[in-house]
């Protein structure tokens, strides 16, 4: 197994070398095995779901936040509102209809979220760094994330991990995860009639985290080239590491070929 390489190798599909971004995309795609309907936002989730459709989840149905169901993009769009996801789609609907009937109506099995900050319970901040009224950094905000976190049956988080992003306490809770732990989260979801069961996986550039019975993240798989020390150094709390920690299988040549030749030949997502 080769070392992870930060830059994309010159001779793409034939090489077993791969970037951290490629590993993250491949790991996220594999997690979609067995899922049926996925709500797709902008960025990395977009390439991950398209890869999953071509590999582990051929029947995966995509709901694009922009109001498109059954898209067949001829190219991978930069924005989720690209014309290529409309032409040839099964249905194009208003955002009212998308959020009301598809998402809140309970048709979405998996919602993908990114995050600027996440805590050990999978609560997510995409709003501000610093105080809300005088932010140090103003982030994009919720978009659809808050309602996705509550209404999608489960949530997949995909993000690069660092001491700035994996924090003990997030500055603003944009989207609820497991709140203060599983017991509290389950009670509140039950009492509030939420459809969502909360986050089920966090895929990063270093590994794969699932949530244990306490509702806390646990590192279950380490990507090739990453070390537990590196993981500890990029987490703002004492992270739980699985007793049965496994090594994430490296991307297969076919997975790499699909990313590099079909999905993202310009390398927009995988730089």
């Amino acid at each position: 197994m080769s070392e992870t390489s930060p830059a994309r190798p010159a001779s793409a599909a034939s090489s077993a070398a791969f970037s951290k971004s490629e590993m993250m995309i491949v790991a996220a795609a594999r997690e979609l095995a067995g899922q049926r309907v996925c709500f797709v936002g902008v960025g990395l989730p977009n390439i991950a779901v398209n890869l999953a459709q071509r590999t582990v989840a051929p029947d995966l149905e995509l709901v694009y936040e922009a109001g498109v169901f059954g898209a067949r993009p001829a190219r991978l769009p930069l924005s989720i509102g690209d014309p290529t996801i409309v032409t040839g789609a099964t249905a194009v609907v208003s955002m009212y209809e998308l959020f009301s009937f598809y998402l809140q109506g309970g048709l979405v099995d998996v919602g993908f979220l990114g995050a600027a900050q996440v805590d050990r319970f999978g609560n997510i901040n995409t709003t501000v760094i610093g105080p809300y009224d005088h932010p140090k950094t103003r982030l994009p905000g919720s978009g659809g994330a808050c309602e996705i976190a509550i209404n999608a049956r489960q949530v997949f988080v995909i993000m690069r991990q660092s001491a700035r992003s994996f924090v003990k306490a997030i500055d603003f809770r944009t989207s609820p995860g497991n709140l203060g732990g599983a017991e509290q989260a389950e009670r509140i979801r039950r009492e509030g009639g939420w459809l969502g069961r909360g986050p089920s996986v966090v895929v990063t550039d270093l590994g794969i985290w699932h949530f244990d019975e306490d509702g806390e993240m646990r590192l279950d798989s380490l990507h090739p080239g990453a070390t537990v020390e590196e993981v500890r150094a990029t987490v703002g709390w004492q992270p739980r590491i699985s007793d049965g920690l496994t090594a994430t299988p490296a991307p297969t040549p076919e997975e790499l070929r699909l990313i590099r030749e079909e999905l993202d030949p310009a390398g927009a997502y995988t730089r």
Partner: protein, 307 residues
């Protein structure tokens, strides 16, 4: 109603957009009326409240142009690329003046326009539970179900003074048809006191009447129809031109620095007198490069004559 509502962009903005107004230029990545935004900047409107789900490049440009005192939104960024410098600087530094923000989620904004369009005092949604958003924005409120089965959240109606939308086509009375992404334009238009429709193509009413299910905005609520081909560039119009992704990528550099942003505004907004000059400056080659690679016809359906 055969009275024509066709107007120039200059006249439509002069007549219908006033200092202090709440203005919504809607369109979710698709059909964003950059042409109207630029004309508002050129005419020097002030103290606007700008509402939009995704404030995007157009509001970054308008806010750099000094037209706004407040922003109402749900997602702030250059999708797939990065940030919006003018807006971030106003929020983070309060310079040159603070920018008031009123923030929701996407579904919250859609609900607000829907309540505005339907004259409802609130719109209920299943969002905001256990989020810090209701604390940041006290206009997001809990509401108890009258059936004893718990609470949801309510958002208040949003009724813009003016909503501006771009569309593929309309007739002179303002009956407007759109295909491709629909966003929340219908709701934002019905919610507004005044509506400006900007179109790629003015068509005879017979074209509209041939396919009445395609109409998203009736002329009944439209005040002006502006014919401005390519008026949505660098956003796109399904079937007419592609999103100019190169411009969105370029914007990341332009917006990082206030001087470069103001230089861009001078060059592309203040020093031009309208969209035709903008297109000439953009160049025929760039324009041609954005055309679809091939047609993708919808097919025809038959409504049938019944006499």
């Amino acid at each position: 109603m055969t009275t024509s509502k066709v107007a120039s962009m200059r006249d439509a903005i002069a007549d219908l957009v006033r200092d202090g107004d709440t203005v919504a230029i809607e369109g979710f990545t698709h059909l964003i009326s950059f042409a109207a935004g630029h004309e508002i900047v050129r005419q020097g409107r002030r103290d606007l409240t700008l509402a939009r789900m995704t404030p995007d490049l157009i509001y970054d440009q308008m806010i750099a142009g000094g037209v706004a005192r407040k922003l109402v939104f749900s997602w702030l960024g250059n999708p797939g690329v990065g940030g919006l410098g003018a807006i971030r600087r106003r929020i983070e530094t309060g310079e040159p003046t603070p920018l008031e923000v009123e923030e929701y989620s996407h579904f919250g904004m859609v609900g607000r326009y829907t309540a505005g369009a339907a004259n409802l005092p609130f719109y209920p949604i299943r969002s905001y539970f256990e989020s810090d958003l209701p604390a940041a924005n006290p206009r997001i409120r809990e509401i108890e179900s009258p059936y004893g089965d718990g609470k949801v959240y309510a958002v208040p109606p949003l009724k813009p003074d003016v909503t501006i939308v771009h569309a593929q086509r309309a007739d002179a009375a303002g009956n407007t048809q759109v295909w491709g992404l629909l966003g929340c334009q219908k709701e934002a238009a019905f919610a507004a006191d005044r509506v400006i429709v900007v179109v790629e193509e003015l068509v005879d009413e017979a074209v509209v009447r041939a396919d009445p299910n395609r109409t998203i905005i009736p002329g009944l609520i439209v005040d002006a129809v502006v014919v401005e081909p390519f008026g949505a560039h660098p956003s796109y119009v399904q079937g007419a031109y592609d999103r100019d992704n190169r411009f969105y990528l370029d914007w990341d550099g332009i917006t990082r620095d206030e001087d470069s942003l103001q230089a861009w505004l001078r060059e592309w907004v203040y020093d031009l007198d309208g969209r035709p000059a903008y297109l000439e400056k953009l160049g025929a080659e760039r324009v041609a490069s954005l055309r679809p690679t091939a047609p993708a016809p919808s097919g025809v359906v038959d409504y049938g004559q019944y006499r």
